[in-house]
Point group: C2
């Protein structure tokens, strides 16, 4: 019973900030009511690669992160801002292969609007990138400031950690 | 030498008309200046499935088609019409996992605007779906009329067959 109880209290969350050029990610453990930093980084695709090849690089990159860090769940930023259809289409491709990679390794996938992610870490939905970086650093007690993309990935993971609180309290 | 020459003259083309609900596909052999129908169909995802699950269904569906029919090249319809950003984002996800599936099995991927596809099979870029169906049926000498989605897939394959003419005449 002890093993089961310990299992219920530790959730490893992969947060993803998708992009067709740079995809930020962050992995956070939620243990009871505390957060623990695990890893963060960015998958950058070569500007010289063809678009199909870039999609493959993004898919391979996040698949390796998942295989190595073994998260229990994935959270990915959704887009509601009025970007033009061409940019939305391009970003959709990247999100598609990222979500697929998570599904292929059996992770449930949750989506959060950018506004919700900023709200969760910085307290309001219009927070700047620099504010997100500072708040992520403070919340996870990091010794340095993560890059913008990695901080966005961590922020998505923290946003999910906040939103799964109520569910977890029922489970545990 | 004979085997090499025969190889150069037969190209098997997979044409894809992507959609977040229904993806049409068609496979055509181009042998010298003639076309031969191989297969066509549609990958329909369950409306009850979550969006991540649908992406996985699309990816699995087209991967199976590729593994079974062994095309040499993939061609996929591109979108230039002014659809709204939300629809473009959704469609992008589907295109992303479709392109990835082709890349994973080593196929070069070519993209064609819907207008070019219609131009290639029906002679003008504003052809209706029914006209595309009729022209695809005539060009491939089919005994029946393929469904709208399957016909669109076949039309993309035929469009690529037309556009690789000049390259092929250099190769062969």
């Amino acid at each position: 019973m002890e093993a089961v109880s310990r299992q219920a209290h530790r959730i490893r969350i992969l947060g993803i900030d998708p992009g067709s050029r740079i995809t930020g990610y962050g992995v956070v453990d939620k243990i009871g009511d505390t957060f623990r930093f695990v890893s963060c980084g960015a998958i950058k695709v070569s500007a010289k690669s063809s678009f199909p090849l870039r999609l493959q690089e993004i898919h391979t990159g996040i698949s390796e992160v998942i295989a190595t860090l073994q998260p229990d769940v994935a959270a990915i930023e959704d887009i509601f801002v009025a970007i033009n259809p061409r940019s939305a289409l391009k970003l959709g491709h990247a999100r598609g292969v990222l979500i697929l990679a998570a599904m292929e390794q059996g992770l449930p996938v949750h989506e959060y609007a950018a506004r919700m992610v900023k709200q969760a870490v910085a307290g309001y939905g219009q927070a700047s990138k620099a504010q997100v970086q500072q708040m992520v650093r403070a919340l996870l007690q990091l010794s340095g400031t993560p890059s913008e993309d990695a901080a966005d990935g961590l922020a998505v993971a923290l946003c999910h950690a906040n939103h799964c609180n109520s569910l977890q309290s029922i489970v545990s």
